[in-house]
Every structure is written in structure tokens, then in C-alpha cells.
């Protein structure tokens, strides 16, 4: 064990600053979406009909539940209940992977209908619909990468909790990983209505 003093507030502030850059990153993409929605309103509404609202809604509930699990994991560790914390974290990662499995089926269905970036079918659609699916794949794809990174991060933290490197007296790494996961959830909260519900 090193005896280095840890700056708890500083560690958390640093994480929040990083999260602001994530918000601005997706904010730029949301702006692009809003601009094109303004220009191709009818095409966007037509294209959004092709998305499966049920699957999107299910994925929303999955991510919300995983967010709850990681918040419960923080509470458990703060109360010194390591076992409960590990269980909650494992559940969070499992739900994150479940989200990706859903996404896999969703994208596979799109691909089998000839809808994938650069496909011939996409080029034949009206320009607004082509833009819609371009944004759909770019934004949900980038979000999917974030889910993957978050799941990897939380798996690492799970191991650290198991080994006692993250514990009741020093849990800022768990809190920060949790914050990242919540931002992944936050972004989906806005992606879901924009892509699935504007029909």
C-alpha cells in the first residue's frame, strides 16, 4: 500500500470535467441531428417508422436498471457490504452486455433489409432518409462504443473491489466509473426519443 494522500474532491472534479467533454461531443451530434430534422422533417418521420420502438424501449429500461444497479453498488460499498457491491456490479455489466445483444439483433435486422452505411439501398432512399440512417448508425454506434468501454471499466472496478483495492475507505474509482456509466445512460435517454419516437 502506498501512503500517497488522495484528493477525493479533485478526483471527482476531474471526472466531471471529462464528462462535460462527453456531453459536448454528443451535443455536437445532437445539433447535427436537429439541423437535419429541421431540413428533412417528413423524411425523418418516415424513416423513424422503420425503427422498432419496443426494442428501443426495452433497451431504455435495461440501461435505466443498470444505472440503478451501479448506484446501489456505490451505496453498498459505502456501507461496507462488499458482497452486495460485487453482485450489483456484476448485474450492471450483465445488463450492459444485454443492451449490446439487443443492439446486435436490431442492427442485424437493419442490415438484412439492406440498411447499413454506404449500402446501395440507402442511396436509393430520399436524401433525408439517407441522412437519418447515417445519423442513426453514427450516434447509436458511438453510444454502443461507450457502453462497451463502460462495461470494461466496471469489470475492472469489480476486480479491484474483489481484491480490496477499492473499498469502503477509498471508493472514488467506483464512484467515477459509476458516473461514466450514468452518462452513457443519460445519452441514451435523449437518443431514444429522437430516433424511435418522432414518427
Amino acid at each position: 500500500m502506498s501512503e500517497k494522500a488522495k484528493d477525493y474532491a479533485g478526483a471527482k472534479l476531474g471526472m466531471w470535467l471529462f464528462l462535460f467533454t462527453e456531453i459536448v461531443l454528443f451535443g455536437g451530434l445532437f445539433l447535427l441531428y436537429a439541423g437535419y430534422l429541421h431540413r428533412y422533417r417528413a423524411d425523418f418521420h418516415q424513416a423513424a417508422r422503420d425503427l422498432n420502438t419496443l426494442l428501443g424501449g426495452l433497451n431504455t429500461v435495461i440501461l435505466l436498471t443498470s444505472s440503478l444497479c451501479v448506484a446501489l453498488a456505490v451505496t453498498a460499498l459505502e456501507r461496507g457490504r462488499q458482497g452486495q457491491c460485487l453482485l450489483s456490479l456484476a448485474l450492471t455489466v450483465a445488463l450492459g452486455l444485454g443492451f449490446l445483444v439487443n443492439k446486435f439483433f436490431e442492427w442485424s435486422a437493419k442490415f438484412s433489409h439492406g440498411l447499413y452505411p454506404g449500402s446501395a439501398h440507402l442511396h436509393q432512399l430520399p436524401p433525408g432518409q439517407e441522412v437519418f440512417f447515417g445519423l442513426y448508425f453514427a450516434m447509436t454506434g458511438l453510444h454502443g462504443v461507450h457502453v462497451l468501454v463502460g462495461a470494461g471499466l466496471l469489470s475492472t472496478v469489480t476486480l479491484m473491489v474483489r481484491r480490496g483495492r477499492v473499498r469502503q475507505e477509498d471508493f472514488v474509482i467506483l464512484e467515477n466509473a459509476g458516473l461514466y456509466w450514468h452518462v452513457v445512460d443519460l445519452i441514451w435517454i435523449f437518443l431514444f426519443p429522437l430516433f424511435y419516437l418522432i414518427t
Binding site: 474532491a9 466531471w16 435505466l64 440503478l68 459505502e78 450514468h182 426519443p193
Partner: protein
């Protein structure tokens, strides 16, 4: 208002409160899906984005613990949101009036 919490005594959110917040989030998701089935025209987008914003606020305040953090973090988040609002607002000042005045 809780005073700026000292590190030695972190503010712990109870599982009951967290579960209640989760319940509210799931209900709001159901509400936004139900509202999307109605044809409200322009108000569909307003409703969807308002509900999404309320959900985001719930996640930020409770799951992300911001309600209990110090003032610095709250101001910084406000600043980040303000920057985003300026980006979006200024762009739409342009987009909304494009093509006006040209024959």
C-alpha cells in the same frame, strides 16, 4: 441545504430512494412512449424532449449524486449546459432564417 459534506462522512443514498428514482424513470419512459402514439404535431417533439430532460435531471441529481455535491460542480454543470445551449441556439438563429429575403 446540506453543508458541503466532509469526505470523512460521505452522504449515502438509501437503496429505497434509488429504487424510487428508478421507478419514476421507468414510468416516464412509459409515458413518453404512450405520448408518441398520439398525434400532437409540434407538441410531440416538445413533450418527448421535456420528458427526456426530466429523466436526465433525475439521473444527474440522484444517481450521479449531484444534489449532494458542492456548489462548484453544480455551477460547472450549469456552465457546460449553457455552452451547449449557446451552440444550439446560435445555430438555429441561422438555420431558421436561411433562405428568407432571397428570391
Amino acid at each position: 441545504m446540506p453543508p458541503d459534506a466532509k469526505h470523512s462522512a460521505p452522504h449515502i443514498l438509501s437503496p429505497g430512494l434509488l429504487t424510487a428514482v428508478w421507478g419514476a424513470l421507468v414510468c416516464l419512459t412509459g409515458l413518453t412512449i404512450a405520448l408518441a402514439r398520439l398525434d400532437l404535431g409540434f407538441w410531440n417533439a416538445v413533450a418527448a424532449l421535456s420528458i427526456a430532460s426530466v429523466k436526465a435531471l433525475l439521473v444527474i441529481l440522484f444517481f450521479m449524486h449531484l444534489k449532494y455535491e458542492n456548489r462548484l460542480l453544480k455551477w460547472l454543470l450549469g456552465l457546460a449546459c449553457l455552452v451547449l445551449a449557446i451552440f444550439i441556439g446560435m445555430t438555429f438563429f441561422d438555420l431558421a432564417y436561411r433562405g428568407l429575403g432571397t428570391p
